[in-house]
Amino acid sequence: MKKIKKKSLVAIAFLIAITLLNISSTLASTAIYGSEEKGYIVATHQLRDNRNTFDDSSLNSKNKSYVSHAVKVWKDSGTVTFKRSTSSPNKIVTGSNKDTSVVAVCTTNFSKTTGKISKFKITLIQNKMKHISDEKNKGTVAHEFGHSLGLLDLYESYNKNQLLYGIDSRKSIKPSKKDIIGAKYCTRK
C-alpha cells in the first residue's frame, strides 16, 4: 500500500514538473522586453546572430538605394551589419497591392521556444511608396530592418523621434539612442 502511495506521489511530482516546464516555455515565447516608456519594445525574446545577410537582387535601383540607407544607418549605430548575399534566406522584395494602407511589411519567422528568428522578408508596396517622398521611404525601410531584428512598433506620440515609431509621421530616418538599446538586446550573444 505504501509502495503504491509512493509511486503515486512520484507520478504527481513528475506531472507538476512537466507542467511547470511547459508553462515556463510558453512564458518565454510570449515575453516582451522594454516598453513604450523606455522607447523600445523587443518581441518574444527574439534573438539574432551575426548572419545578418539579405537578398535584394530583385529590387530596382531606387529601392536598392532605400535598402543601402537602412544598412548604413544600422551599421553606423554600432549594433548590426547587414550584408547583401543572393543566397540569403532573408528576402527584400516588392509588392503590388493597391487596396491597403500598408506601405511596407516585415514578416519574421521565429521559433516559439527559443524566440530565434530563422528568416525574415521585407515587402515594399510599390503602389504606396511611389506617392511618398524618398526621405520617408528611406525611414520606412530602415524601420522595417528594425523589425527584422525583433523590435516592435511604438505608438505613443512621445516616441515620435524613435525609428520604430509605428506611424508614418515618424521624425527619424535612423536609429535613435533608444532604438539602439532595443537592437542591442535583440542581437545580444
Partner: protein, 200 residues
C-alpha cells in the same frame, strides 16, 4: 484502495502524455509575425477620401488572398447604416491579414461584430462586386467605439475619450487586444462627428 491508486496513476500518465504532446507541438511550430508600416491619414482626410462610410455587421469570411505582398481577407458584411455613399444591403470588406498571417497591429474581424468603417472601393481586388478596403476602422459595442487604427493624437477624431466606467465590457476587451493604447469614445458622438464631417 489499490484500484483508486492505480486509477490515479493512469490519470497522471495521461496528463503527462497530453502535456508532452502539446509541448512537442509548440516546439515544432514556427511562428510568423507580421509588422506593417501604414499610411494613415487624419480623421478629416479619411472621411473626405472615402467612397462610403458604413456601420456594418461582419458576416462570413469569403476568401483569403496571398497575392500582391500583403495577405488579405474578404468578409461579407451586412449594412446597418449608410453615413456616406450609396451601397446595397450587403457589401464585401477587404481586411489586411489572414488567419495564418495576421498583422500584429490590427486584429482580424470576427463574425457578428459591428464596426463603423471608412471605406474605399477596391481597384485591384475585383473578384467580387461591391468590395471595399479600409481607410479607418471603429469597433462598436453598445455606447462605446474603439478606434482600431493606430494614429497620432492630432490625426484622431476630436471627441473626448470615454471615462472607463461607461465603456462596455466588449469594447474594453477589444481595446486590450490592440498593441497600442486605443482611444475609446462614445459611439453616438462618433457617428454625429462623422455625419457632421460628411456634410462639410
Amino acid at each position: 484502495m489499490k484500484k483508486y491508486f492505480s486509477a490515479l496513476l493512469l490519470l497522471n500518465m495521461i496528463f503527462i502524455l497530453a502535456s508532452t504532446i502539446i509541448h512537442q507541438e509548440s516546439i515544432s511550430d514556427t511562428s510568423i509575425l507580421l509588422t506593417a508600416s501604414r499610411e494613415i491619414d487624419s480623421f478629416e482626410e479619411n472621411v473626405a477620401n472615402a467612397d462610403t462610410i458604413l456601420k456594418v455587421t461582419i458576416g462570413d469570411m469569403i476568401q483569403e488572398l496571398e497575392t500582391g505582398g500583403v495577405p488579405q481577407t474578404i468578409y461579407e458584411a451586412t449594412v446597418l447604416d449608410v453615413i456616406k455613399g450609396n451601397v446595397s444591403d450587403t457589401v464585401n470588406i477587404l481586411q489586411d491579414g489572414t488567419r495564418k498571417k495576421p498583422f500584429k497591429d490590427i486584429p482580424l474581424f470576427s463574425k457578428g461584430e459591428t464596426y463603423l468603417l471608412v471605406l474605399k472601393e477596391t481597384k485591384d481586388v475585383v473578384i467580387y462586386n461591391d468590395t471595399y478596403w479600409i481607410l479607418d476602422e471603429y469597433y462598436i459595442s453598445q455606447n462605446s467605439a474603439v478606434d482600431m487604427f493606430p494614429k497620432s493624437s492630432t490625426d484622431s477624431v476630436d471627441i473626448e475619450e470615454q471615462i472607463s466606467s461607461e465603456i462596455s465590457n466588449q469594447a474594453e476587451r477589444k481595446a486590450k487586444q490592440l498593441t497600442f493604447d486605443a482611444e475609446v469614445v462614445d459611439s453616438e458622438e462618433l457617428l454625429e462627428k462623422v455625419e457632421e464631417e460628411v456634410r462639410k
